[in-house]
Each structure stands twice: as C-alpha cells, then as structure tokens.
C-alpha cells in the first residue's frame, strides 16, 4: 500500500555506483569504505539504513548530504546533479551540533539566520518548530540546561525550520538513553506524519528502523555495501502498539537475521588478525 504510493512518487535522491576509499596507514594502501552503492529515495519516503559499525552507513549519509565527495559515482538530488550541500537537504547530527552560546530559539533559527531571514520572522518560525517538537516554553533555555533528548529535539527543529524537502538523520537517537529513545521514536512518527518529509535515517537499531520506515536498507562491511532492501509494509499511522504486532516482529527478525549472519561470519577482530597472519606468512615465504 505504502509501496505502491512511493513507486509513483518522484525521485528525491538517486545515487549510482557510489564508492569511497580513504588512504590507509600502509604506504600506497587504501581502505575501501564504500563500494558500488546504489541508493534511491522517493519523495515522501522514510528510508532507514542499518548495518554494523564500520559498514560506511554514516559515510554514505554524509555523501548524500554533500559533506563528503564520493570517490566514484553520481549523486542526483531532486533531479539535479549535486556536488555539495544544498538548501533542499538538512541534516540532524548524532551529537546534536548545537551552538552552546545560543538559546533554544536561536539554535532552531540558526539555519534561517544563515539564509538572511529577518530576526522577527525567523524567531516566529523557530517558535513554531519548537512547538512541533514539544519544546514550547524552553525558548530561552541554553543547550547545557537541557537533557540529551531535548537537545536532539532542538537539532531536529533546526533542520525542519529551513523547510527542506529531504531530512538526513545520522543516528539521531544514538546519544540518548533507551527510555528517552523509545519515546522520541513515537515523536518522530508523529512529526513525520505532520511534515511528510523525505527522510534518510541512519541507525543500528533494527526495531527503530522497522517502526519508522517505509523501507530498510541493510548494509554490510568490508567493503561497505548494500546487502538487501526490505519494504516495511506496516500500515500507517503507526504507534507504540505497532511494536506489538506480529508483522513488526517478523520484519525485525528477518532484518536481524541478515545482520547477524554478517556479524558472525565476519568478526572484525578475527578478520584483522587473519589478514595480519596472511601478511606475516607472505613475508616469511
């Protein structure tokens, strides 16, 4: 049902053949972070990227954001070639990236300030978005006076305030405690329902990905690549009760199984030791 709708929706992001490598410590060596990644996001779609640490999911998101240039491949955003950040995309950071010397209202208004929106106008817009994320009454609180969950609400409001078509979220709930996290997931559902942004959401929490997404992209390591994509056909609007449905658990288990195989098959410590032993063997012979 969701799927049919999204298949007809215009493309928000098309990334083809994305590869990225960093120079490694060995002379002439390089570490491949991403290889042959194809990724699409349709307008109004909520897509999560899950994968173990080191699978390059954050790097992929940063490439989509235009913060990192891909080594190879092409990136199109809203039908245009993108070679840097754009006004149609806004990012939510894992560590919030709030300015400690600005209060909540000014932090939310920061993106608008950079677009030279006059003070009164941007404060009014910022106040509306603070309300949307449930922080009315905290306009003049400073980040350090607020909990992690509240700080991330500010980070989300700041991204939404510039009214981007696409929201890019890098493990936005990774730095808050488990209870707050469950609560914020429900808030994200509500906020997404009200705003209907196209979202790319990076997480390592399978349940979170299933609860929030229309589609989940599973990534693997060495090199970082897309292993599979799964359409999440849970009906919307979703709620806390969605977590108890049989389909939710079935989808979560399926995704967990493919992740688990990869984590067990390729334990990173073992792999490193094996390659070290192989190199030592090659030197000896």
């Amino acid at each position: 049902m969701n799927t049919a709708l999204h298949e007809r929706a215009p493309l928000a992001i098309v990334a083809r053949g994305i590869a990225k490598a960093y120079r490694s410590s060995q002379p002439g060596g390089s570490l491949s972070v991403l290889e042959g990644v194809d990724f699409t996001l349709r307008a109004g779609e909520f897509v999560s990227i899950v994968g173990p640490s080191g699978c390059g999911k954050t790097t992929l998101l940063r490439i989509l954001a235009g913060l990192v240039a891909p080594g190879q491949g092409s990136l199109e955003v809203l039908g245009k070639v993108a070679d840097g950040p754009g006004p149609e995309r806004a990012m939510v950071f894992q560590s919030f990236a709030l300015l400690p010397w600005l209060d909540a209202l000014d932090n939310v208004a920061f993106g608008l300030e950079l677009r030279n929106i006059p003070r009164e106008e941007r404060s009014a817009i910022a106040a509306d978005y603070l309300k949307l994320v449930g922080l009315s009454g905290f306009e003049h609180a400073y980040p350090r006076q607020l909990s992690g969950g509240m700080q991330q609400r500010i980070g989300l409001a700041r991204a939404l305030a510039v009214d981007p078509a696409i929201l890019l979220m890098d493990e936005p709930l990774g730095a808050v405690d488990a209870l707050t996290r469950s609560w914020l997931q429900l808030d994200l559902l509500r906020i997404w329902d009200e705003t209907r942004k196209s979202v790319v959401f990076v997480t390592h929490d399978v349940g979170e990905a299933v609860l929030l997404s229309d589609r989940v992209v599973v990534m693997g390591t060495r090199p970082g690549r897309i292993l599979e994509e799964r359409v999440i056909d849970l009906p919307r609007p979703r709620s806390d009760a969605t977590r108890e449905s049989a389909r939710f658990n079935e989808l979560s288990m399926q995704i967990w199984r493919s992740l688990k195989e990869m984590v067990i098959e390729r334990p990173s410590v073992g792999a490193e030791r094996r390659s070290r032993e192989a190199r030592a063997g090659a030197r000896a012979s």
């Binding site: 940063r62 954001a65 235009g66 913060l67 840097g84 950040p85 754009g86 006004p87 995309r89 806004a90 990012m91 950071f93 560590s95 990236a97 300015l99 400690p100 010397w101 920061f110 993106g111 300030e113 950079l114 677009r115 400073y142 350090r144 510039v162």
Partner: protein, 261 residues
C-alpha cells in the same frame, strides 16, 4: 543551609585577610625607620610619600607616560595575534611552522631579548612598544590558535550543511567557539604586557615610571621608591581584575572546557 555556609566561609576568609593585612602593616610599621630617607621607611612614611607624589601630580604624569607603551604595544599585539592566530588555527602547515617559535617565545625569559630590541629601535617609544608587544604576543597568539583549532568538528559540518559562506562560518561558529580561549589568552597577555612595560622602563630608558624610580633611587628616597612600586602593583592588579570581569562576561555559557585560565 548551604547559602549560610558559603556566607560563613566568605566571612571567615575576609577575617583571615584582614588579620594578615593588619599583621603585615603592623610589622612594617614596627621595623621601618623614617629617621633618614635612605632607610627602609615605615608603612605610614610610605603612605605619606605616596600621597605627596599623588598630590603634586608627578606620579600621574609618570604613569600616563609609561602607559603609552602598554596601550600601543598591547593593541598591536592584539591586532597581530588575533588574525595570525586564527589563520594558524585554520591552516595546519602554518600552525606547524610557527609552533616551535611560539614555544621558544613563551619559554624564554624575554628580558634577555631587550638588548636586541634596543639595538634595533634605540631608546625610542617604539623600542618600549616593541618590548610590550613581545611580552604580550606569545600567549595571545597561542591561545587564539588553540581556540580556533579546537572548534568542534561537527559544528563545522553543521555550518557547511547549511551552506554558510566562509566568513559567516568564522563569525558565527568559529569565533564564538574560540572566544573563551582567546579571552584567557588576552588576560595572560595583559599581565605579560604590564611586565613588559616595567621592564622597558627599567632596562631601556626611564620615561615615566622608570625615570620616577630612577629619581627616587639616586636621591636616596626609599619611601618614594616603594610608593611608586606600590602604584605599579596596583595597576597590574586592577588591570587583571578588569580583564577577569570581561572574561567572565564572555563565558556565561561555558562549562569549563578550554582549560587556559
């Protein structure tokens, strides 16, 4: 309860300081000797000498003359260190290039360089300005550089994701982030600048304070001499106190990183 406890300990501190001041002044008064000007004077005798020099305006004139070099030298140090430190904080190779010189500058007793300054500038005002500049610039430069370099990488990314132009990025993200470190450097630099001013006066040429000290010294008036030194000390304390107030104003939001106090 904790409020009254802090008030109580503040009162105790005040009492301790009052007692120690009374003890020092009492001992000074007791051991001092006003019978001949060349002797170490009593506290009262020194106070009289201070009053005399304040009343006839000689001390004010001397201070005003000396502070020319402080004002010019310190301003020049700010003018050079803020942009240079910012650039060095942003551009890694430049930072690596100037880092050893900075270390040397901060580690050497700069009084050793004064003869070199004299060779270059003679005994002019510019020589004194140069000494003040040299004393102050090291801390200013280092703290600006470190402050700019320590700006949180995700704040840079946040600015870039909103497509902030480079100058806006500096103004709205980098400088506010670096401000506590820069202010701490400005405070340290100011203390050094006062030292530089006095060193220049005493070792190059006595223009204001230096000539007043020289005069008191050659005419064997110890009370006058001590009075002048007390005034210089008072200036140093007042300036550092003012700088601290300014520093605090700028760091209301700060939690305690950038440990350069």
């Amino acid at each position: 309860m904790s409020d009254s406890a802090t008030r109580g300990s503040a009162r105790r501190l005040l009492a301790v300081r009052a007692v120690s001041l009374v003890v020092v002044l009492g001992a000074w008064q007791y051991f001092g000797d006003d019978s001949r000007p060349i002797n170490f004077p009593t506290a009262w005798g020194t106070l009289q000498a201070l009053w005399r020099q304040l009343a006839d305006g000689s001390l004010a004139t001397a201070l005003a003359k000396s502070n020319q070099s402080l004002l010019l030298g310190y301003s020049l140090a700010l003018l050079v260190a803020l942009p240079a430190g910012t650039i060095a904080g942003l551009v890694d190779p430049i930072r690596r290039a100037i880092d050893p010189f900075l270390t040397i500058m901060i580690a050497t007793p700069l009084i050793a360089v004064v003869p070199v300054v004299q060779a270059m500038f003679g005994l002019s005002l510019s020589a004194r300005v140069a000494v003040v500049f040299l004393f102050a610039v090291g801390f200013l430069l280092r703290n600006t550089m470190v402050g700019v370099r320590q700006v949180d990488a995700t704040l840079w990314e946040m600015g870039r994701s909103f497509r902030a132009p480079p100058f806006t990025m500096l103004r709205k993200i980098v400088f506010p982030s670096a401000l506590p470190a820069i202010m701490a450097g400005a405070r340290l630099g100011l203390g050094q600048a006062v030292s530089g001013m006095v060193v220049a006066e005493l070792t190059l040429v006595g223009f204001g304070i230096g000539s007043a000290i020289e005069h008191a010294n050659t005419t064997f008036r110890t009370a006058d001499l001590i009075a002048i030194v007390l005034v210089v000390m008072a200036e140093g304390i007042l300036l550092s106190w003012g700088a601290r107030l300014l520093h605090r104003r700028f760091e209301r939001w700060r939690i305690g990183e950038h440990g350069f106090a």
